[in-house]
Amino acid sequence: MLEIKGLRASAGEKEILTGIDLTVKAGEVHAIMGPNGSGKSTLAQVLAGHPAYAVTAGTVTFQGQDLLDMEPEERAQAGVFLAFQYPVEIAGVTNAYFLRAAYNAIRKARGEEELDPIDFLDRLEEKLAVVEWGPEIMQRAVNGGFSGGEKKRNEILQMAVLEPALAILDETDSGLDIDALRIVAKGVNALRRPDRATILVTHYQRLLNYIVPDFVHVLSEGRIVRSGGKELALELEARGYEWLTGQTEGAVA
């Protein structure tokens, strides 16, 4: 589904990704872990097309298409979804309007018929149940005055509605209490299907108790320094990152 080869990316003068190779097949869940500043969030944002980063080398192929050649909206239309680490507040636009605009933009790009507000509401109801929200949240401005946990839940709601082929979660678990974490995990697990894949970018092992990954990769200084199965995450929890990165940083759990 996704094949990353020799990916290097910079923000301004500073090179952050220094050569990423990663293959994600349909049906798989990959966890990307690593200390702060290792480049894991940058990787997630580069895949979604964040304008702050320039790709300087390498290729990314998504379902046979050159992902790097696509605008951010084309990537979304093709089935890539990034759950933001810091979701953006958009005052003046209701959650309902925003979600329907996104859903219909994607349908339109795929040559499917757009849904009117009534039909969309029907669809929304079952998705709201996934994140255990009532319909009243839809009349609030997008992330307007939301708590950190609410913002992350809203990302999961968007993901549930848009049903991406590849979901990339950028530290969605950071700062969540156990209840919110459970809801996020429920959303991700509800989306799992043999023809879809998930990349979880996380600093902590905790999320992986709820969403069991097939592969765990450790990033350090912009490249993958170790890959393994879910047991690697447990090892990181016990030993920290230093033994892999040569840097000192606190425990992972």
């Binding site: 605008e71 979304a76 979701p87 933009a105």
Partner: protein, 438 residues
């Protein structure tokens, strides 16, 4: 310059302007004298620093345009788009400054509510008009308002008696047609709301065609003790027209006044909104939206005077500027020594869509009381790239994302309009103007 206006004043006095109680006639003359001695402002005047009015003042306007034959210039169908789709609302229509009985709609209203053109009100209750005319408005507010006091003898006089509750807005609709090109239209509106009453007003200034007319409008609003008033002012004149307006508000104890002003027409459009919180426990909410494009110059000046304790004022003005348009915002909040426990917040936010648009913004607080909570702030910015990316990352194309973000910026103030039909109509109007697909 003044010869033209002096002659017009004498002519006006011989016609409608000379009618009514002697005090009223004398007040008009005093206003004219003030105008004649002060003259039009220039950019050397602090209040007009960024707004050169020379394009207005150097024109020899036809000043008796109120006598343009209003009959038959506008059909009911042409007026329809400006009625907010609400044919049932009490509506006074003025065509080129002149009252049009045929186009107006004057349904049965609750007892104590009257909606009349100026001449009718003057004939029926001259004492009321004398008590209300050019007394709420500060006599020397602007040279334009003094000129208006001297010359205006057309307009609306609306009285809502104590305790009356208006379910629907009353609409005062000014239309300038192509025939108004070269004419100066002076209109005066008096809105008087009694104790404990509840009322909504809409004032529209609209155009058919793109004639370069000059509207000089003054509105005086009295909000009685404990009354609730919503006042929407929609300036959508032709983009070749000139518009100068003053709205002056006087609030009584425990009253609530909320205003929404939309300015999107005019080559040069200036509106002064002045509110005096003249008693305790008053709430005053001022929302504004101005949209500029092409070479438009849009100027909003507001003054809020806190003179008594325990009052609250809340002001949010937002602007969206494209092309080579230029916006000016100047907001003053005065808090006198008596006005303890004042809670005042003033915000001006501007969105620039082009490299050639420009904003001069100056929020000001002048506080002479020590136990108050007053804040102000102004921003001028562009669309946020991160917000763009967020929308695009959800599959929304960049063009559409831009529309959504611009609309969102405007919607933040439009949503503050309490009246649902007014809000919905404004929403459509703003979307249409900004080229946003619903």
């Amino acid at each position: 310059m003044t010869t033209l206006y002096a002659e017009a004043f004498e002519r006006s006095t011989r016609n409608g302007g000379g009618k009514g109680p002697a005090a009223l006639v004398a007040r008009r003359r005093a206003a004219f004298d003030r105008f004649a001695s002060a003259g039009f402002p220039t950019t050397r005047d602090e209040d007009w620093r960024f707004t050169p009015v020379a394009p207005i003042t150097r024109v020899d306007w036809r000043l008796d345009a109120g006598r343009l034959d209003a009959g038959g210039l506008v059909s009911a169908a042409q007026l329809e788009p400006f009625r907010f789709g609400q044919p049932g609302w009490a509506t006074l229509v003025f065509v080129n400054g002149r009252f049009s009985p045929e186009l107006s709609h004057r349904p049965e209203l609750p007892a104590g509510v009257s909606v009349e053109p100026f001449a009718e009100a003057l004939a029926r209750d001259p004492e009321f008009v004398e008590r209300s005319f050019a007394l709420v408005a500060e006599p020397d507010a602007t040279a334009f308002s003094a000129l208006n006091a001297a010359l205006a003898h057309e307009g609306a006089v609306i009285r809502v008696a104590a305790g009356a509750d208006l379910a629907e807005p009353i609409h005062v609709l000014h239309i300038a047609t192509a025939e108004a090109a070269g004419a100066a239209l002076q209109t005066r509106t008096i809105l008087s709301v009694g104790q404990g009453a509840r009322a909504q007003f809409v004032e529209s200034f609209a155009a058919l065609g793109d004639g370069a007319s000059f509207t000089n409008a003054v509105t005086e609003v009295t909000v009685g003790e404990g009354a609730w008033v919503e006042h929407s002012r929609i300036q959508r004149e032709s983009e070749s027209a000139y518009h100068v307006g003053l709205t002056q508000v006087e609030q009584g104890r425990d009253s609530h006044y909320r205003s929404f002003t939309l300015a999107m027409g005019g080559a040069i459009a200036r509106h002064d909104l002045r509110a005096r919180l003249g008693a305790e426990n008053v709430e005053c909410l001022l929302y504004g939206l101005y949209l500029g494009r092409g070479d438009q110059l849009v100027d909003n000046h507001t003054v809020i005077r806190h003179e008594f304790p325990n009052c609250r004022s809340w002001e949010v003005y937002k602007g969206i500027l494209d092309g080579r348009s230029h916006a000016v915002f100047n907001g003053k909040v005065f808090v006198t020594p008596e006005a303890q426990k004042t809670d005042a917040k003033q915000t001006n936010r501007n969105l620039l869509l082009s490299d050639t648009s420009r904003v001069d913004t100056k929020p000001q607080l002048e506080i002479f009381a020590d136990d108050v909570k007053c804040t102000h702030g102004a921003t001028v910015g562009r669309l946020d790239e991160i917000a763009f990316f967020y929308l695009q990352s959800r599959g929304i194309p960049r063009d559409e994302a831009k529309q959504i973000l611009i609309y969102a910026f405007a919607a933040e103030v439009v949503t503050e309009v309490a009246s649902v039909p007014v809000r919905e109509a404004l929403d459509r109007l703003v979307q249409e103007r900004l080229g946003i697909r619903a």
